[in-house]
Amino acid sequence: MKIATSWTTNSDPVAIANAYENLVVQLGATPTLLILSCSAVYKVEEILTVLHSYTPQAPLHGSTSCLGVMTQAGAHTKDGCGLAMFGIQDPEGNYGVGAALIGEDPGAAAQRAIQAALDMANCPGAVPAMVWMTAAPGCEEALIAGIASVVGDDVPITGGSSADNTVTGQWKQFTQNNIFSNAVVVTALFPSTEVMFAFHSGYEPTDVKGIVTKAGGFEATDEKGFATKANGRMLLEIDDRPAAAVYNDWSKGLISDVLADGGNILSRTTLNPLGRIVGYIGNVPYYQLSHPDAVTKNGALSIFTNVTPGDEFVLMQGTIDSLVSRAGRVASSALETYSARPKDVAGALVVYCAGCMLTVQDRLNEVVDNLRSALPNIPFLGVYTFGEQGCFLSGENRHGNLMISVLLFSK
């Protein structure tokens, strides 16, 4: 198992070719699997043309990332332009990439995609060690369920929703042969070595006085309620009151100026998302986050995750500093959980919420430094996404917002 990364902030095909050649030189061979992420300003057709000239049939898993990417060499974005490649050289492993248009039935699309990935990996019918997924934002929960319906519930699914620079739907998903804007791309990984992962929220409940009021756990805050009417990703009411008003009360007037007429609240809610307890490790609960991005005119909250009546929400709280240090902490957590040492790691994939990235945009180098500190001399690719998928260690695959997902490949 050998892993290398390369990058460029130049969209010129020659620069992309140079990046690929650099990757191959580091690997000493053509990659067994190539994961490529770039900002949406890149012309993906040109990228594929360049790659085809080198290796027409190598499995490629591609997606767009918000504004740029990061690697162990730094945060790579220049005028909204940044591209990085993550190459795995693992002749004894099996890897396959599959894709499908999401269409009307996201679950069925995910099934087709994972089936194609397994076939390409030459492992049809076999349970992969891990699934890496990228999809257009919107129905990630259904996609995860679709993948699980094929390979089983306990296969870890990690990835991030493709993103663009302006939240205008310019995102792309692509494979070695196809380019999509509303598809799911999955890679079935059968590596010859172990994979390790961690999926964290990194936020804290807003009020500590409610801790441990329910059996086996703790109530994170007084500011909680139950979603009573929900419509997909539209949170209509909490505790029989308009959701936006409840959120505004909980956040002490954070969105009071848009309550009447509605409006975008994405950037101001990054540090105060909604959380749901999705499980317990021992007696300690862990949370899945939902990022409110807009208030509707009828007082509902639009969020980036599905919500159903009966879900319990907690107002969470984070800080700029915590967003800066989180990626490194999640990487360390993945190592600690598996009792691994950095020298055992060949490479890492980091999924970092684009919303968080935009909030700490001026301190991205510190984010990279924290990752480098946790993963010294280890190549990694970090992507900025509009939704994060990961597997909590107690087993559930989840889609969340403002999350960080780290996937480590051991040597």
């Binding site: 099996n94 296969v155 010859s192 957590s333």
Partner: protein, 475 residues
């Protein structure tokens, strides 16, 4: 720096995750180890298989199980199964099995998509939807343990991880069984062998030996356990044997040696021994074959080639060889001399014709004994054929010494021989040739002695005549 609340929460979660993971691992490991203790007692494949199934069942839920073992590079077949349908199947290697044998357990969520399973008839897989394949690398022949379940997606990543922990232990159990089997087979060969086989410590004491030692040498187990191998070896051969053992230390290969071993009955058997030295074990390995009959036959052939079959004396060939040696030595040592006495029995033909060949032969044997009694051990007595005999007197330089022997022979022939109740009087005519530097070869010496013998015959028999070149001619 003080940790922020969310960091404390994460740290707590990490701690809980690690603690839970370690707890799960410990419980699983203890369960596996406890079960595997019973596996090591398994004496055959079937018992081992059932023990493996039981252990695996304690950590993984499944319905049926079977072990496939490679028949060749392409095919793999069941050697044990809990399912009758599986027992008569044959499988071919494809991507999944190759991956499994490379050390990666593979869970199949749907066997009907797996190449190896698709090759099987529907009847085999109609009640099987998912399977877990675990490579067992301990055996000489690669093997795969497969467990199955009627539900799809029954086995997943968790079971693959459990299988990874289980595989080395199961492989070790399979290896142990293989080794036990190999030891049993070796012991059988050890006892079936027609050769003597043994393992001996560097001080010569037996560590192991097969029953052929008893059969060939007559010792029982207690005898061999109390004896040193070196004590069994003929004293004349022991130094050579020990020297061979010394040479073993400087070579990587075995060495061969033939030597005599004493039997319980005190006689000796010739054993051809193949010896190897395993210094790291401080042991010699010995495989020996009883070659007594062959050695005796060879010795007999060698004796026959040099001796007269009737009298047991040296024959002409051996005589000429010895005479050549004496001549060569005499040339190098001027003070050394020898004498050749050419004897021809007087009136032997008449005795033979009148009393018969049997008595004639008996006479020749008795004559041989008498002349042997008249010479020293170092002297050579040979029969040329018929009634002609030669005595080669070693280290004789004077005419008197030679004539004294000749006279002595005449004296011992005076008493008649009693041959089958017949008293037979015999005499011999003797020609004597003394060694001189003029002799170039053995034939010349023999020729001169022959001339002298005829002179003795001409002079009236029962005499001896010393060859004189002035009288009898120059050679």
């Amino acid at each position: 720096m003080n940790a922020r609340p969310e960091q404390l929460l994460e740290a707590l979660l990490d701690l809980e995750r690690s603690r839970q993971r370690e707890h799960d691992l410990r419980i699983e490991s203890e369960t596996l180890l406890e079960g595997l203790r019973s596996i090591t007692d398994a004496q055959d494949t079937e018992t081992l298989f059932l023990a493996l199934v039981k252990v695996l069942h304690s950590v993984i839920d499944f319905k049926d199980a079977f072990i496939l073992q490679a028949q060749n590079s392409q095919q793999i077949a069941p050697i044990a199964s809990t399912s009758e349908e599986i027992k008569n199947t044959t499988w071919r290697f494809s991507s999944v099995f190759n991956r499994v044998l490379a050390g990666q357990p593979v869970a199949a969520f749907d066997v009907n998509q797996v190449p190896e399973w698709i090759q099987q008839p529907l009847t085999v897989r109609e009640d099987i939807k998912s399977a877990l394949h675990i490579g067992l690398t301990g055996s000489q022949q690669p093997a795969i343990l497969v467990v199955t379940h009627p539900n799809p997606r029954h086995f997943g990543v968790a079971q693959v991880k459990q299988a990874k922990r289980f595989a080395p232990l199961a492989s070790q159990a399979l290896l142990t069984l293989d080794l036990q089997r190999a030891i049993t087979q070796r012991d059988r060969f050890f006892q079936l062998s027609l050769d003597l086989m043994g393992i001996v410590s560097f001080d010569g004491h037996f560590k192991q030996f097969n029953t052929v030692w008893r059969d060939v040498l007559g010792y029982n187990d207690d005898d061999l356990n109390s004896k040193s191998l070196f004590d069994l070896i003929h004293p004349d051969d022991r130094a050579n044997f020990l020297d061979t053992l010394k040479r073993l230390k400087n070579t990587d290969t075995q060495l061969l040696i033939e030597c005599r071993f004493q039997c319980q009955a005190k006689n000796y058997h010739w054993l051809s021994c193949s010896l190897a030295d395993y210094s790291n074990e401080q042991l010699y390995y010995i495989v020996a074959r009883d070659v007594t009959d062959r050695v005796m036959a060879e010795q007999q052939l060698a004796h026959d080639a040099r001796h007269d079959p009737l009298t047991g004396l040296y024959n002409r060939v051996e005589l000429m060889k010895r005479l050549d040696y004496a001549l060569t030595y005499a040339k190098r040592q001027p003070r050394y001399g020898f004498a050749l006495l050419y004897l021809d029995l007087d009136r032997f033909k008449i005795i033979n014709d009148t009393l018969g060949h049997n008595i004639g032969d008996e006479l020749l044997r008795e004559f041989s004994k008498r002349i042997l009694s008249a010479v020293r051990k170092a002297d050579i007595v040979a029969r040329l054929g018929g009634d002609e005999f030669i005595i080669l007197l070693m280290d004789v330089t004077t005419q008197e010494d030679a004539e004294r022997v000749a006279q002595n022979i005449h004296n011992i022939l005076v008493p008649p021989m009693i041959l089958q109740s017949n008293a037979v009087k015999i005499s011999a005519s003797i020609g004597i040739a003394l060694s001189t530097i003029k002799y170039q070869d053995a034939a010349a010496v023999l020729h001169d002695a022959d001339i002298a013998m005829y002179a003795a015959k001409s002079n009236g028999k029962s005499q001896y005549v010393l060859f004189d070149p002035k009288i009898h001619g120059i050679n």
